[in-house]
């Protein structure tokens, strides 16, 4: 609509490698950046900012799962468990050793990556369903270990209180400061993933996803790259877990139950497998979903349901719609919201001349 490409002319390698080859693309990205960095924190209510904070955390986690599931084709139902590994590692380091966030966040990620590699080791021999069940088992085992090891979980109720991060002596405890803090991590995660998937490693991942035996024949060390995928994915999950801990200022295993793993799977599938933008769409969609349902039920629920049970009914209604949406997207639009967005964009690219 706003721009036309008249052919595909690249004269330099740099031009070929650019994320946004056209000026209009760069400008729109810059505009979105300014919108979220300046306009949104200035004018938005703290309640909506808190939702944006949760979305930023979800983006990091969803990108991680998308690297594993969307790009490498290895399913994991234990994503939330890796998040909890990161969360408890960081929580212990922060409270016991008083580490700052710029040490605690990566070390949480690295610990999660180590556990992820351990879980990923069977992935050479097993795939598909077997891997799904193995990661499901990992979820339960990690949950149980954390819950039953006071040295990790801090004893009573398996929760550790964590102080908010400090940045150059400034304690980040208002919603706006936390928003900037989390948004920065989400932005770094997005750029890192965009670069990762077009690198040698990312291309190896895609080759393994499409046909792992063929990938091995053309010289990709499948085992090593599958472990890379698990490590990178769990690193993202661990970082997301640490961020979530900072955001809630408490590490609690109940924030990382299997339901959360399924939420992340839903994000990746609804957003679009194997696409960075799709992970962002999915994270936004799944995080906003309960809020939208709640607003809807607050407005119209009293016509249908007894107000006493309304909270309960809202939760059930959310589950029903959530499950139905997952199935709907899988059957009707397997490439998710990202495909819808591309369809819209491609339609307007040549609009009003449809050729």
């Amino acid at each position: 609509m706003f721009h036309r490409e008249s052919g595909y002319y690249k004269t330099t390698y740099k031009g070929d490698m650019a994320f946004y080859p056209l000026p209009v693309g760069r400008w729109s990205v810059a505009l979105i950046g300014i919108l979220f960095l300046v306009v949104v924190p200035l004018f938005l209510d703290p309640y909506y900012l808190s939702i944006l904070c949760l979305i930023s955390i979800a983006i990091v986690g969803a990108l991680g799962l998308n690297i594993l599931l969307g790009y490498t084709g290895q399913i994991s139902i234990g994503h939330a468990a890796f998040m909890s590994v990161g969360a408890y590692t960081a929580a212990n380091l922060i409270t016991k050793l008083d580490w700052p966030f710029w040490l605690a966040v990566p070390s949480g990620g690295i610990m999660a990556a180590a556990v992820g590699v351990l879980v990923g080791i069977p992935s050479l021999r097993i795939k598909g369903l077997y891997l799904a069940i193995a990661t499901l088992a990992a979820q339960f085992i990690i949950e149980w270990v954390i819950n039953h090891t006071p040295a990790i979980s801090g004893g009573v109720q398996a929760s550790i209180e964590v102080p908010r991060p400090t940045f150059f002596g400034e304690k980040l405890d208002t919603e706006v400061e936390l928003y900037y803090f989390l948004m920065a991590f989400a932005a770094v995660a997005i750029v890192a993933t965009m670069n990762l998937v077009r690198s040698r490693i990312g291309r190896a991942f895609i080759a393994i996803r499409d046909q792992d035996i063929a990938a091995e024949i053309i010289g990709i060390n499948v085992f090593r790259y599958k472990l890379y995928a698990f490590a990178i994915s769990s690193f993202y999950a661990g970082v997301a877990g640490v961020l979530y801990t900072y955001y809630l200022s408490i590490a609690n295993y109940e924030q990382f139950l299997i339901v959360v793993s399924i939420d992340y799977l839903a994000m990746v599938i609804i957003g679009g497998l194997g696409s960075v933008l799709g992970s962002v769409f999915g994270a936004v969609f799944v995080t906003l979903f309960p809020t939208v349902i709640r607003i809807f039920m607050d407005a119209f629920g009293s016509f249908f349901f007894d107000p006493v049970i309304q909270a309960q009914v809202t939760a059930q209604f959310r589950l029903i719609l959530f499950g139905a949406l997952i199935m709907f997207f899988l059957v009707v639009e397997p490439e998710g919201l990202n495909r819808l967005w591309l369809n819209i964009r491609n339609y307007f690219r040549v609009w009003p001349f449809s050729y």
Partner: protein
Amino acid sequence: MADFNWGFFLELLVSGVLIGLMYSLIALGFVLIYKSTDAINFAQGEFVMIAGIIVGACAASYGLPLWLAISLSVGFMVLFNVGLERTVLRPMIGRPIVAIIMATIGLAALLRGAGPFFFGAETRPLNLPIDDAPIIIGDHFIYLNPIHLLGAVAAVLFLLGFGWFFLKSRKGVAMRAVADSHQVSMAMGINVQRYFALAWVMAGVVAALGGVIWGSLLGVDTQLAIIGLKVFPVVILGGLDSIVGVIVGGIIVGVVENLAAGYLDPMVGGGTKDFTPYVLMILMLMFKPYGLFGKPIIERI
């Protein structure tokens, strides 16, 4: 170990076997679907839950006789699974296995919401017309719960029935052919889609029976779906497509978790019951991923 309590050990062992056979019943639904349609059903526990909730709601809240409640529940499961196969699983034939797993996870979420949404979230009792006084055997005072016994007997009957069905009956042989290769069985004149529907219907009926038995043991509410998680250790231990494997896997899981609950729980402070089957399963996956009786998959490009 001088005064090893054999009575205690035997009691754990026997009730473990019985509970394990009841797990086999739930896992049977999973294997039926996998064996004939190659689809993975992560919602088997939710099937059991929804069937149990319907029986519980009809019998306890609307006052219908038990046989009517059970047949209503079976009828609902049949219709629901036929519809499900039509609308969700048929369009997904040939898609990656991950997609089918996700679809059934979505289905599980939907059912977990729908059960209490339509029938209320309260826990209902589900009373079978049998005497629930424990049966005492021998001088070691082994207590047996009659519901366990009934469940185990029903499970064995069903498992034998399905074993016969797959090995001997015309429909069962056709079903195995469908599982082996969709294209070849189509070429041989088998109506593949009908057998897919049949597999889901059978899984629904098995789930309804499981819902009645487990519901009478635990009471029916959404928590009933949790036993669906026991399905995975059972089928992995036994092998995904083997009915004998389901029995053996179920018994192993039942015995191991009962012994763990009896001997390990006092040492580590509880919760080993839900944990040990999964450890066992991980070991199995590492050393013998296709289970004790499963068929290894040979992959070609």
